[in-house]
Symmetry: C2
Subunit: 307 residues, 2 copies
């Protein structure tokens, strides 16, 4: 069985998790949580989004948060944008890496950012032309299944990534935004993409809506995904499955990868501390490790290697 | 990627799930649920246990249940036993297949059935010598991790299965009883066992205590596991992690395997009906599909094949 000895983790709790929270989360609390996350060893913390405050009221303080968080050297502090306006705000706020959100299907993209996929690709291209030192990491949301259109044909996903490759971009992401992907599909899709575009550093973003997130991550890293997205406390969700689980919890991902011997650079106990803080602030969480504890918590002699 | 086109499912809700329920479940309700499960297409329904009623009060009606359930041709109706007394009760009740429970570690086995692993192996051997037409399927519980002893060395697991092979048994099971296994460990352990004992038809029993159950199943079938245990409604649990998730929900397993194109013979919609009945009867469940619905429920055009 082929799997990597090392993957990067991108923490998205305060962006993808907080954007779904109905009650406004106090800016100081956000900063406190991001600062806790900064101590964990993540490669990347996607800490906010520069989007319209009417669309995502909870992230209307993106500028203030950007100013006040402590930045730990070696950590990328990225933000999400959906159009040129957001990109300009992010650049003005000093953001050096943005994820540009774009859905694989027109239906979802129109619903999400009021543009067709092609129009969003043009938005990315316009931003790439701007004179900035900000890295643009675009991706493909609902790349495995769309709540409106169903299964997304591989050719559609390929068409999107072909644009990124043509523009010289290598750091890109692929998302199972609504938790519809299965491990074989994740494996096949990523393997085929990397076969076509071997230079891509592909980030895999999975939701645990139907319990398959860790299986999909396991399949994804077998196929060559290099970055895994997750959210401390398992926050987030999907408007199409109210009450369902959202992002896979970072502590559940790190717990599994630690046991598997896959290096992430992330300290699980520090993530658990941050996730507990997240739960305290928002009043809920969806995390196996917060509920059950780590596998070997009860055992005196901790495992070094499993097999 | 190697994975089978077909696996068998053993449904264990009314045994492994119900044994953990504090309130006695009415015998008629048990029978109603087992009869619903009989319509789903399972290879095997482990419907009860013949164990001491003080140890597992909820299954004290094993004999009555055995008499009154409807038996669908082609379905194996198995029961769990822990010693010769239980085996004799099962045989007297007409059971034709028993799982003989036995833990990989002495600590867990003493705690569970008041015997060392070696003593339990002797119990199995005694039962095999009896003149009965009942198939004995033994296994190894806590084979990946033990809440008392930690990681279980592969040599210990091999030593147990060597006994089964020496006795000519091929249908055996391996269990992550307390949800401590990770996918690489599951893959390696099963691959090594099947390398040593290629004739085994290995059933994999996983709990979702730390969210890894579907990943472990995905790893297990890649390594050659032929049978998957699961419990409708995700019932069950573990005394060492109170409040944590127990058995992986059958509907979550079938949903994933259906999407992956792995044939089980099980009808997902009928399982969902049975799981809803389970939830109605016991008042709770732990199931992604009952919460979120199937991946393509919202989509008009259902997928035939994902990729």
């Amino acid at each position: 069985m082929d799997y990597p000895k090392k993957v990067k983790i991108r923490e998205v709790c305060t962006r993808d998790g907080f954007q779904m929270e109905r009650e406004f989360i106090d800016t100081d609390k956000k900063i406190e949580i991001i600062d806790l996350l900064s101590e964990c060893g993540f490669a990347d913390i996607q800490y906010t989004a520069f989007v319209h405050p009417r669309a995502v009221p909870n992230l209307k303080d993106a500028e203030v948060v950007s100013q006040r968080i402590k930045r730990v050297p070696g950590v990328t502090y990225s933000a999400l944008v959906a159009n040129e306006k957001g990109f300009e705000r992010a650049v003005a706020a000093g953001v050096k890496t943005v994820e540009f959100v774009l859905s694989a299907t027109d239906s979802h993209n129109i619903n999400n950012v009021n543009a067709t996929t092609k129009e969003s690709l043009q938005r990315v291209e316009e931003c790439l032309k701007k004179d900035s030192d900000c890295l643009i990491m675009p991706g493909a949301a609902v790349a495995f299944g769309c709540p409106f259109e169903g299964v997304v044909p591989f050719e559609r996903v390929k068409w999107i990534f072909q644009h990124y490759v043509d523009w010289g971009l290598t750091e890109v992401s692929i998302a199972d935004t609504t938790g519809m992907a299965n491990p074989i599909q994740v494996y096949d899709t990523i393997a085929r993409l990397l076969d076509l575009f071997p230079d891509l550093e592909l980030a895999l973003h999975v939701h645990n809506t139907r319990g398959m997130a860790l299986a999909n991550i396991f399949a994804g890293i077998q196929a060559g995904a290099k970055v895994i997205d997750s959210a401390a406390g398992g926050l987030g969700g999907c408007p199409y499955a109210p009450g369902a689980t959202g992002n896979i919890a970072t502590e559940d991902v790190i717990h599994m990868l630690d046991l598997m011997g896959v290096e992430t650079g992330v300290n699980l106990d520090k993530v658990i501390t941050a996730a507990n803080k997240v739960r305290e602030v928002v009043g809920h969480s969806d995390s196996y490790i917060l509920k059950a504890g780590k596998a070997f918590d009860l055992v005196k002699e901790k495992p070094k290697k499993q097999t």
